[in-house]
């Protein structure tokens, strides 16, 4: 039985099993018996989540205009509702469940309310309308994008029945907003009686009484923590702290961002590059995930309690591209490779004076696309990479996350007695090297390409990595970009990646409309050829025809020797669009 047959049978079985509830649904819709949704439809406030706030404001204007008579009789605050994410917003509500005041308690809360006249537009509106509009604005501002994010709804009321009812209604209201936005943020809620002490704590720290109650829960777990510092954390952080028993004081998102920026070297920039900071305090290693967007996206993991940088690329900025634009008008270099190497060596010598004179140039190659030289050299058993501007000779990038070779490779001729200071003595023994042409041949062979003339070479670079001499080879062939790493010692391919090229290197395929279909057998053969396997060697061979991004593709998968192979093949050209090889766990 094929996979497709199993799928179809499963589908048929489900269709037979699924109860038909259409009549019941239509009946609900006709008679207005739908649950909370029908209530929402009657107030016509939520036609579109993007204009939810506008609708709410219009509703406020209407209610505000008509409600003056009732309003004067209802000034007394019956309930206080607070919404906390990191924005904290407090709503004071009368017995008729209309808003008396709406205010942001912190800067982020005030920012959310800015489009609603600081909250004044919501005064006089029904509580659920206002909450809907506010939560919609919080979602739009991106505060609840993360799956682990959370919003806290607190209802403070001395009338327990009313308070608990409002709590349930508001949870349903907020859930509705989040579902419509296909948002999976958590919704926390609590009912509180009015507590003067709690309110005082809240006021002193510019947070809501609800958030103050959450902070007190953390303090109950660890009394050594500081209320003021906890008050500055988000609801998500507080929730996670409670979950893990509040072992200490997390550094907070601002500090995590600062540490990541310092490590990345972006703190010198005059523009904001931190895109997101996501706390993951309930992870086995509590941490903050900091996303920096500079020339591309960089992710950093910062330990939540120690501030240690657990992962991420250091010093992504050496000289800002804005002051040293790397893009020459033409792609021809203005300096020679030697000059580029010398520039990198000089920069390195100034930064690491203790290592001057001991380096070995591995390679200096000009990257025509980006207009810079890629300079790599070896010092003290470690490999350093620099990007040097092809025009000015400025250092554009320094990779300080350098790779070092194992000592067994390094210690060759250095005697125990007087150290020899010549460069030769600190360089490792040269391992076997098959040479660049043999490396290229190995790469072509791995790619299944017989005709080297059909290939456009991009890069063939010899470098040390993980203590081994390797060739990093890149080329285009048949509209596909290949990245292959070959061991210099024996030509073994240790890394193989392909990607459908954005450049059309094959004049025969114009990149226009799809004209043909090679068929499942040819797709299967292409995948097997690529993997260097025959059909009889593999198991679970599967070929599926699919349409993706307007193009017909074949998805071919099979297993061999503990690995799972997956291919996407262009049905029109037979080109391998994607290729993955993974452990079959």
């Amino acid at each position: 039985m094929t996979d497709k047959e199993i799928e179809l049978k499963l589908k048929a079985a489900i269709e037979r099993t699924a109860p038909d509830g259409l009549d019941r649904l239509l009946s609900h819709i006709d008679t207005g018996k739908g649950d909370i949704i029908v209530e929402k439809k009657t107030v016509q406030k939520k036609r579109n989540r993007w204009i939810g706030a506008v609708a709410a404001i219009l509703a406020v204007a209407l209610i505000g205009g008509l409600g003056g008579y009732v309003y004067t009789a209802n000034y007394a605050v019956a309930t206080t509702v607070s919404l906390d994410v990191n924005p904290s917003i407090q709503l004071k509500v009368n017995r008729a469940e209309k808003i008396l005041t709406c205010a942001g308690l912190n800067d982020e809360g005030r920012e959310i309310l800015a489009s609603m006249n600081g909250g004044a537009d919501l005064e006089g509106s029904k509580l659920n309308v206002a909450v809907n509009a506010i939560v919609g604005a919080i979602v739009r501002a991106g505060y609840l994008d993360s799956l682990s994010s959370a919003i806290l709804i607190s209802v403070e009321d001395n009338n327990a029945a009313r308070g608990e009812r409002l709590q349930a209604e508001l949870v349903a209201e907020v859930d509705g907003v989040l579902q419509t936005a296909a948002n999976s943020a958590g919704v926390l809620s609590q009912y509180l009686t009015v507590d003067a002490g709690l309110n005082q704590q809240a006021q002193q720290n510019s947070i809501s009484a609800g958030k103050a109650a959450l902070v007190n829960q953390v303090l109950a777990l660890n009394a050594s923590l500081d209320f003021d510092k906890l008050a500055a954390l988000s609801v998500e952080e507080l929730r996670d702290l409670i979950k893990i028993g509040a072992p200490g004081m997390p550094i907070g998102r601002t500090e995590a961002a600062r540490i990541a920026e310092e490590y990345a070297g972006t703190s010198v920039l005059d523009r904001e590059v931190v895109f997101d900071v996501d706390p993951e305090l309930d992870d086995p290693v509590p941490h903050y995930e900091v996303e920096i967007r500079y020339d591309r996206e960089y992710d950093y993991t910062i330990h939540a309690f120690t501030g240690e940088v657990l992962s991420g690329q250091a010093d992504i900025v050496v000289r800002t591209p804005s002051t040293n634009p790397p893009a020459p008008d033409t792609h021809e270099p203005g300096i020679t490779a030697d000059e580029a190497f010398n520039a990198a060596a000089k920069f390195f010598s100034e930064k690491h004076p203790e290592l001057v004179g001991n380096f070995l140039n591995i390679t200096t190659e000009y990257d025509r696309d980006d207009g810079h030289y890629d300079v790599e050299f070896w010092v003290g058993g470690c490999e350093f990479d620099y990007d040097v501007d092809g025009k000015s000779g400025d250092i554009l990038r320094e990779e300080t996350d350098y790779r070092c070779t194992p000592p067994t490779v390094l210690d060759t001729t250095v005697p125990d007695t007087a150290p020899d200071t010549t460069p030769k003595d600190t360089t490792p023994a040269q391992p076997a090297d098959i040479g660049v042409e043999a490396a290229k041949s190995a790469a072509l062979s791995r790619a299944g390409i017989a005709d080297a003339a059909s290939v456009t070479w991009i890069k063939c670079q010899r470098e040390y990595d993980d203590g081994r001499l390797e060739y990093e080879i890149e080329f285009y062939a048949d509209s596909t970009e290949y990245e292959i790493t070959v061991l210099a010692a024996d030509g073994t391919v240790i890394k193989y990646e392909t990607e459908k090229s954005k450049y059309n290197t094959n004049p025969g395929s114009s990149g226009g409309a799809q004209t043909g279909d090679i068929g499942a057998d040819a797709a299967k053969a292409a995948a097997l050829r690529h993997a260097g396997l025959s059909e009889t060697q593999v198991t679970r061979l599967k070929v599926e025809r699919d349409r993706d991004d307007g193009r017909i593709e074949y998805e071919v998968s099979f297993k061999y020797n503990g690995f799972e192979y997956e291919y996407k093949i262009d049905a029109a050209t037979g080109a391998i669009l994607e290729h993955e090889k993974d452990w079959d766990d």
């Binding site: 799928e7 589908k11 079985a13 489900i14 038909d20 509830g21 649904l25 989540r49 509705g176």
Partner: protein
């Protein structure tokens, strides 16, 4: 019923049109949308809630939400993914509310085929495997692909899993179901 899996693009365009009409309050389109998608919605709800009655109620609520919120759907060419996201969120909320996720018991399971006339032995065995033997993520992945017709990358996005994981879980789950069927033959 038109097979959305066979022609996903045409199916998506039609669902998008129906959703737009539903957003404008068209009940006929709502009925048509329901007919085309309710098996998938029910299947996803069943795979999360593991209870036939709860799944039926969740599917009901999901369509009420669709009726109410169809106008907020932004056409992105993946109406089924939107519908599945609404259903999944509703089911997860239900789970949170009940704070439980019990496995489908044999008694509950037996209640399904009793109501479903014409369910063949092989189909019943498939459902048994799909819903009883697979881990929750694999269960959702299989049903989202086979019944809802979502692509693996759409499933990956919906469930917040790497695409590789989705692919390998799917492959393993199908293999497991095949083995189960062949064993039963």
């Amino acid at each position: 019923m038109e097979d959305l899996v066979k022609d996903p693009d045409a199916g998506a365009a039609e669902l998008e049109r129906l959703l737009l009409n539903v957003g404008a309050g068209d009940k006929d389109s709502f009925g048509e949308l329901y007919t085309r998608t309710h098996a998938a919605v029910y299947a996803l709800a069943l795979s999360i809630l593991s209870n036939a009655h709860d799944a039926e109620e969740a599917a009901h609520d999901a369509y009420l939400r669709v009726w109410d919120y169809a106008s907020s759907y932004r056409a992105k060419g993946s109406p089924m993914a939107w519908l599945m996201a609404v259903t999944r969120n509703l089911c997860l909320m239900e789970l949170r509310r009940k704070k439980r996720q019990k496995e489908l018991s044999e008694d509950e399971w037996n209640a399904i085929p009793a109501e479903a006339r014409g369910l063949e032995t092989e189909e019943r065995a498939l459902l048994q495997w799909a819903l009883g033997s697979l881990d929750p993520a694999s269960r959702q992945i299989v049903l989202l692909h086979a019944v809802a017709g979502l692509k693996h990358r759409e499933i990956a996005r919906l469930l917040g899993l790497p695409q590789n994981t989705v692919l390998s879980k799917y492959s393993r789950a199908i293999g497991k179901m095949r083995a189960g069927l062949e064993k039963g033959e």
